[in-house]
């Protein structure tokens, strides 16, 4: 029995590894054909992809709707920025430590919020998304208020330049985000394929039935929050590395952007999370390219991306709630 489950775990890990390697190869290939601007956009896709995965796990897999992922991203970003500016750690040390901080925030949130149902949870997390960034002004001396804490990805180490040559700033942003995105993808894929993922889906589909089958659902719900908060914290830390960690970097609209991406792509699948992120990041560019042919005032073109993505969100929910990735892709056994 034990041997069987061990063999199964190995095959799950191999499958996740295959997906991850394919993903990394795809990104590296795309990056080599893109210009500098699109490489920065691709780095943004990788960063937000981690955040969208946190929504996929929390909402799509375990059925708990949170509108406050931006607040958890802010927690990750601030933890990392404080460690980097005050303690002088490099980002490779500061980010893992920041993840501990966001996991703790997720634990607190899970304990207080995991018992809430549907719209109550959505509303409470929305208030949290609004209230957390104002803490920056409350603790002005440490968190520096609206100014925020400037951080960046810095320069590549010497061995890296010796091995691969000097990367441009955009490329280095991409290379910093890629390993983290790959790890996040590997872990998410493992969770979805394994027993934990089955338990979370069981909770989503029917709590009573899950409890009768031996799932300790209150503990699992809190666990989902911790895992999801860690993903969001990682995404938030990398998001801050684009230049600044401050209240204006993590607005409520960021939480809604993550949710939009998750729903557009397909809220139950990792592939959907990636497709959705690509859509929300590149949509403004695509719309610009189309609108360029018409003579439109700035007023119209400024709001076009928001209008189109919101319309897509409504259409997805009403016509094809499974998203771009469709239903057949997330029928894990």
């Amino acid at each position: 029995m034990h041997a069987v489950s061990k063999a199964k775990n190995h095959s799950i890990a191999r499958k996740s590894l295959r997906r991850t390697i394919f993903f990394v190869a795809l990104i590296l290939f795309a990056a080599s054909t893109f210009d500098a601007y699109n490489q920065a956009q691709l780095a943004l896709v990788l960063i937000l992809f981690i955040g969208v995965l946190s929504v996929t796990l929390l909402t799509g897999i375990s059925g708990q709707l949170s509108l406050g992922q931006g607040a958890l991203m802010a927690v990750g970003g601030y933890c990392m920025a404080l460690l980097m500016t005050n303690q002088g750690y490099t980002l490779w040390v500061a980010i893992p430590l920041a993840l501990v901080g966001s996991a703790l925030a997720g634990l607190l949130l899970g304990i207080s919020a995991a018992r809430l149902t549907g719209p109550y949870l959505a509303g409470t997390t929305l208030v949290i998304a609004l209230a957390i960034p104002t803490l920056a002004n409350r603790f002005m001396s440490v968190l520096k208020g609206d100014e925020g804490l400037p951080v960046d990805v810095g320069y590549p180490p010497v061995w890296f330049t010796n091995l691969f040559g000097e990367p441009s700033y955009e490329q280095w942003q991409l290379y910093v985000a890629l390993p983290f995105a790959a790890i996040a993808l590997f872990l998410a894929s493992n969770i979805l394929l394994s027993r934990t993922g089955r338990m979370w889906r069981a909770i989503r589909d029917n709590e009573t039935a899950a409890a009768l089958s031996g799932v300790n659902f209150s503990r699992q719900k809190i666990f989902v929050f911790v895992v999801s908060a860690t993903f969001a914290g990682l995404s938030g830390a990398l998001y801050g590395l684009r230049g600044l960690v401050g209240p204006s970097v993590y607005p409520v609209s960021l939480s809604l952007l993550l949710l939009t991406a998750a729903v557009l792509g397909g809220i139950r699948s990792i592939f959907g999370a990636f497709i959705g992120t690509v859509i929300v990041v590149f949509l403004p560019d695509w719309i610009d390219a189309v609108l360029h042919q018409f003579e439109l005032s700035e007023q119209v073109s400024n709001f076009m991306p928001a209008l189109v993505s919101s319309l897509l969100l409504i259409l997805t929910v009403v016509i094809n709630p499974a998203g771009v990735a469709g239903t057949h892709l997330h029928k894990h056994k």
Partner: protein
């Protein structure tokens, strides 16, 4: 003492508006089982229409009436175009579980909010603009002292109280009101008893749209109008509704005034920046101590 009075008065007139917003949320929650996050987007849109009418030379009262009518019509349209098709999709695999049935309408209403805000930005530009008040916004003078209470505040409070009274009468005394309460209680049984539940649901949306448009008209003279200004009002209204009990209209009113007082006292005695932390504290306290809210009947959480 002066600060105390000022906080008390501002809490009352703000609280009246939050009560109205909370009432709008509660009516749709009871009537359709949906928490409508687009509600203040609708209010923002109809207030912009009123603002445009006034700048084009129409009277304030005509614009006022049209805005409320537009709010009601918009509510019905949202129900028919988005929410009703959604609730007919219950049989699909994605919507088969209770948790997703609660989550998907919330996502849809957020999409509607995004569309309304983007449209408002495209049509009216994103700059803040003022919105006129029908009465003076200067304090009454009593024995030489200017009191922190204006004739506009009196107008706001009397309009809100009249609306609340009429709503209560409508739900308690009329046949349609009874049908709406029955649908809220159990829509299957209501349908079997011959109530046209689709009609009563749309009516809830119309009521809620009208109430929130009224709230938008009453709050913008003191806060200016832009596509995003009313988002915060929605969050405060949500807290008020949870404090009072999400399924109780009377509770929504009490919650509105309570939250109005909290916000007013925090911004007068502390700084306005801490208002959201205070709201979060109130919300979490209520959810821990009394999750059903002051007058609610059903718990917000399961253990």
């Amino acid at each position: 003492m002066d600060t105390f009075l000022a906080a008390l008065f501002s809490g009352t007139s703000r609280g009246a508006i939050y009560a109205l917003v909370a009432l709008g949320l509660v009516i749709v929650w009871r009537g359709a089982g949906i928490l409508n996050y687009a509600q203040m987007g609708q209010a923002m849109f109809s207030t912009y229409i009123a603002s445009t009418m006034i700048t084009n030379g129409n009277s304030y009262w005509l614009a006022f009436a049209v805005a409320i009518l537009v709010g009601a019509v918009m509510g019905v349209l949202l129900d028919i175009l988005v929410m009703r098709p959604l609730s007919n999709k219950k049989k699909t695999e994605l919507l088969s579980s209770q948790s997703m049935r609660a989550a998907i309408p919330v996502i849809a209403s957020l999409g509607i909010l995004g569309v309304l805000q983007a449209l408002a930005g495209i049509i009216w530009a994103a700059e803040e603009r003022g919105f006129p008040a029908p009465y003076a916004q200067e304090g009454f003078t009593v024995a030489g002292n200017v009191m922190p209470f204006t004739s506009f505040d009196v107008f706001v409070i009397s309009v809100v109280l009249t609306t609340l009274g009429l709503t209560t009468l409508f739900f308690k005394k009329t046949g349609v009101g009874l049908a709406m309460r029955a649908t809220a209680l159990n829509s299957e049984v209501a349908r079997l008893s011959g109530i046209r539940t689709n009609f009563t649901r749309s009516l809830s949306w119309a009521f809620s749209g009208a109430a929130s448009s009224l709230a938008g008209l009453l709050i913008t003279p003191t806060s200016n109008l832009s596509p995003n200004t009313l988002d915060l009002v929605l969050i405060i209204g949500f807290t008020a509704a949870v404090v009072g009990g999400l399924d109780s209209p009377a509770g929504a009113v009490i919650g509105g005034f309570l939250v109005g007082m909290v916000i007013s006292f925090v911004s007068f005695y502390d700084t306005p920046e801490d208002v959201f932390l205070a709201i979060l504290a109130v919300l979490i306290l209520v959810l821990i101590i009394r999750p059903r809210g002051i007058l609610g009947a059903k718990d917000a959480r399961r253990v």
